[in-house]
């Protein structure tokens, strides 16, 4: 077998997702496949997906301001994030598991490999789990994460973000994404965010500040809806991608 001299051109324009090879994100260069991905025949897609029920959750799993307390409240700006999980026809996806993780207010992860010289918060791990309700809605209570430096390029800083891991109704809908905050000046310089080929696609990952979700005297509110594509029944039909 001969090694391709250059990676095959990946057909990214019809997909809302970033390409695997995106050289500005330097970690992609040695990890992106060179060969084209192969399609799965439609008949083999209909296998459903794993099912998780309320038994996987504990009462405070959705609230990172409470679920890791040791001797007080976590530091930082409290936020509530509410949103809907939808399929590509706009229908709610009910009972779906969402897992989130993030840095603390100082931009530091509870992770042995995070060497950023910023303080850990003894009362915060930044992990949450929740299920969408019968309207397809979820609520996350957390602390606004801080930006942090990383080694991708000189003076590289990640915009503030919360990782979202989402299961749909089919394993092909499985997706991990990130929620960003409106008006963050670092977004323009971030290769992970900029790797999304389409401007409208990028905009979907920016939460909306929503005063109606802000809880007076307690926490600012953000709106973050998530749409899952996936199965062959809806092959990248993006209704607003017609211009």
């Amino acid at each position: 077998m001969t090694r391709p001299a250059e990676p095959a051109a990946q057909p990214v324009l019809s997909s809302p997702h970033p390409p695997h090879l995106y050289p500005p994100y330097t970690s992609s260069v040695k990890r992106a496949p060179h060969e084209l991905l192969l399609p799965v025949p439609d008949a083999l897609r209909d296998h459903g997906g794993p099912v998780f029920g309320p038994s996987v959750l504990r009462p405070d799993d959705f609230d990172t301001t409470r679920n890791a307390r040791v001797n007080g409240e976590p530091l930082g700006e409290r936020i509530t994030v509410r949103g809907r999980l939808l399929d590509s026809a706009g229908r709610p996806i009910r009972g779906a598991l969402i897992e989130t993780w993030q840095a603390n207010a100082a931009g530091r992860y509870v992770h042995q490999h995070d060497r950023h010289d910023a303080p850990l918060d003894p009362n915060f791990t930044g992990t949450a789990r929740l299920l969408t309700d019968d309207r397809g809605e979820y609520e996350l209570v957390s602390i606004r994460p801080g930006a942090y430096p990383w080694g991708n390029h000189p003076n590289a800083w990640r915009p503030a973000h919360i990782h979202f891991s989402v299961f749909g109704t089919d394993f092909t809908q499985r997706v991990v994404s990130q929620m960003y905050f409106p008006g963050d000046p670092l977004l323009a310089h971030d290769p992970i965010y900029q790797g999304i080929p389409d401007e409208k696609g990028r905009a979907r990952l920016i939460s909306a500040f929503d005063l109606t979700l802000t809880q007076p005297g307690w926490a600012l509110g953000y709106r973050f809806d998530i749409v899952l594509g996936g199965s062959a029944a809806t092959p990248f039909e993006d209704p607003d991608h017609d211009d």
């Binding site: 970690s27 990890r31 991905l37 192969l38 296998h47 959705f62 890791a68 930044g126 092909t172």
Partner: protein, 208 residues
């Protein structure tokens, strides 16, 4: 939780109304263990987490041959990647997926390559064949450096894979990248399945 609150309206959504294009994927990054790997430093959950192997989760109740699937994930330089996250999804020993009547278990597990040898391992039940197909595991792969995850399929070297409709779509020279090699070791069957992200021997990946 949210059920006593007013329903969210489309007007304030970050998704334009009527434009339900999928939310783009982003990398799991290097710190996914914090949120997704049970028992990792910092994870607050003590019980009930989903990141367990199917067999240990439902020990004693799942019929079928217990197997171990293990391997490494190599980058384009042939270096084993120590921070890959993998999820398997598969049918039970009778070839039934979880939504089908009588399915024996969820069939989902999450694992990761880990130090010191950058190897992953999943303990599960060997899946049975769905009608017209060879037994397989679906494998979801994420890592730092992958903005969008990848899928592949894992077949077993001791099965007849010659008429599987998915393998039939794969160029013959590349099919071996999808076959896990059986090794009978003390404690049960082990299947070795390595992934090569790019270059010579590159694993076949599928579009989700």
């Amino acid at each position: 939780m949210t059920t006593e609150r007013p329903a969210l309206t489309p007007e304030t959504s970050n998704i334009p109304e009527g434009a339900f294009g999928p939310s783009p994927s982003q990398t799991v990054g290097p710190y996914f263990h914090q949120g997704l790997i049970h028992g990792f430093q910092g994870h607050h959950s003590a019980a009930g987490h989903v990141t367990v192997d199917p067999v240990s989760a439902e020990a004693g109740t799942v019929p079928g041959e217990r197997i171990r699937v293990t391997g490494q994930v190599f980058d384009g330089d042939g270096v084993a990647i120590p921070d890959a996250m993998l999820e398997v999804w598969h049918a039970d020993a009778a070839g039934r997926y979880v939504q089908q009547p009588g399915a024996a278990f969820t069939g989902f597990a999450r694992t990761h390559t880990r130090t010191p040898d950058a190897r992953y391992e999943v303990q599960t039940i060997k899946p049975g064949a769905a009608p017209g197909e060879a037994p397989r595991l679906w494998l979801w792969v994420g890592m730092r450096g992958l903005l969008t995850h990848l899928y592949t399929a894992v077949y077993f070297s001791d099965e007849d894979n010659s008429t599987d409709p998915l393998l039939a779509t794969v160029p013959e020279a590349r099919r071996s990248t999808l076959i896990a090699r059986r090794q009978d070791r003390p404690g049960g069957a082990t299947y070795v399945f390595d992934l090569r992200m790019q270059g010579e021997g590159e694993t076949v990946f599928f579009t989700p």
